[in-house]
Symmetry: C2
Subunit: 110 residues, 2 copies
DNA sequence: TCTTTTGCTCTCTTTTGTAGAACAAATATC
DNA sequence: GATATTTGTTCTACAAAAGAGAGCAAAAGA
């Protein structure tokens, strides 16, 4: 890929990380993905994608101590970087621009 | 891939096909891609993607006689199918929904 | 006919997308 | 306290998409 272009799944995961804010971690991201998009994914797929996003500098991560709930292990929490936000904005601009030229698509209205 | 999910580049190319309307063919699509997104692509990449889109039923194609301009060969012209339009709409809905939950992104306004 | 231009096809490599098994640590149960 | 259960991440593989470019074909111009 050209380097700075976000893959389709990468983009969705990055958006979910942004939506979750302070509590974005592997399993939670997978759950939110399913809730928001109806799309399921294996946990390995989510983590692989998060690692790639981190390599690209679009997210940062750190370990956070677990809660007291049963099995509550420590989590690796992710947060979006400025670079990540820029990548999302760029991607959004391209789409909004193209959509605006395809009136047929505007069923649900932007 | 999950089957019905549009890849990132596939989605852009499909949008360009829609924008170009009756005159969407390989080289023209590449030019329009560059014009609209500033992104360059090898012609082979564009055709490989168009072929994949056709396999998925998102575009149809047919040969069209060339023009009288120098070297104007016959072109393989593509057009979006109803299925393609639906795929774009679905993808758009998911993004618009997620974007709406990330106010920070709304710099250029939808 | 030879060159130039437009255009598509074929082949190959790298990146993304996807899944799931394996492993680790914490609480619960007896 | 040994074992089960639950929450999490890491590791390993493989399929699909992204991307490049050489090569081939046909039309017009000289």
């Amino acid at each position: 890929m050209k380097g700075d272009v976000l893959g389709e799944f990468e983009e969705i995961i990055l958006l979910i990380v942004g939506v979750l804010g302070q509590d974005a971690y592997g399993l939670g991201i997978r759950d939110e993905l399913e809730k928001q998009t109806g799309r399921s994914a294996a946990i390995g797929a989510v983590h692989a994608t998060l690692n790639r996003l981190q390599e690209k500098g679009y997210v940062e991560s750190g370990m956070k101590e677990g809660t007291q709930e049963r099995g509550g292990r420590r989590k690796r929490v992710f947060q979006m970087t400025g670079l990540g936000k820029k990548a999302l904005t760029d991607s959004k601009d391209v789409r909004v621009n193209l959509w605006s030229q395809l009136p047929d698509l505007n069923v649900g209205k932007v």
